[in-house]
Symmetry: C2
Subunit: 145 residues, 2 copies
């Protein structure tokens, strides 16, 4: 497991995959984004999305799962916010993975035990189509002692 | 239901509430953010969060649910991204609601049937503590015909 001093700018991490299906898209939407284009194959055809599309928040939550599985940070994946862009709607059948790049590493000026890692995260399907990007800064602790 | 020409800058919308519990915080985290501070009351005490905290993505997904329930947009709540800040961790017992304000309305230069609404969304608990803010631009269609 890694601490701040174990990371480097330009370091990349590649995740495992997550399968989006009509079933898990609809199950997420029923609870968190109950709109026709996320809930019903037929009704979705008549909407802006022209077919069933995953809630962007589902894509985001899957991305968080893959980040938690992929980033080997000793004290966890902790962020204070994200700048998130949905470049294209995720669809049933998408086999999603994420690609993470460390863009900057900064030591805290006030707290000597920690710093931040600025990362860029792309969420892509099996055809390389980018469904989502995230820019965020993670809180990363230094090695204790 | 409203179209672009029915909205005005400064217009505000107040949502219903959503109850966060230890059970739904853990259920979300098991699937989408499996980290000790989101999964286990006891283990979470030893972490940065000093107790069980909701995944920020859970707070975000709940916010989306409340937006879908609250915003009376005829063609749905559709956004291309969000700038999201978690100001404090949401906790078991938080009764969340959202407050939405329209900050700007813009007509599309290329597509005469639509425009965007820039909104600011605060997610607060029953004590008025702000857990999350979102800035986003929604795609809003004009009244047909």
């Amino acid at each position: 497991m890694k601490y701040l001093e174990d990371l480097y700018v330009g370091e990349r991490f590649l995740s495992d995959t997550y399968q989006l299906t009509e079933e898990n898209i609809i199950a997420f939407a029923e609870h968190f984004d109950p709109q026709p284009f996320h809930l019903d194959h037929e009704q979705a055809k008549e909407t802006f999305f022209e077919g069933l599309a995953a809630s962007g928040w589902h894509t985001g939550a899957v991305t968080m799962r893959l980040m938690a599985q992929t980033l080997p940070l000793a004290t966890g994946v902790i962020g204070g916010g994200v700048d998130l862009r949905w470049l294209s709607p995720a669809r049933p059948g998408d086999l999603l993975h994420i690609e993470i790049e460390i863009r900057a590493l900064t030591e805290s000026r006030s707290k000597p035990d920690r710093g931040t890692a600025s990362i860029f995260v792309e969420t892509k399907n099996q055809h390389g189509e980018v469904r989502q990007t995230i820019e965020t800064r993670l809180l990363v602790f230094k090695r204790p002692g």
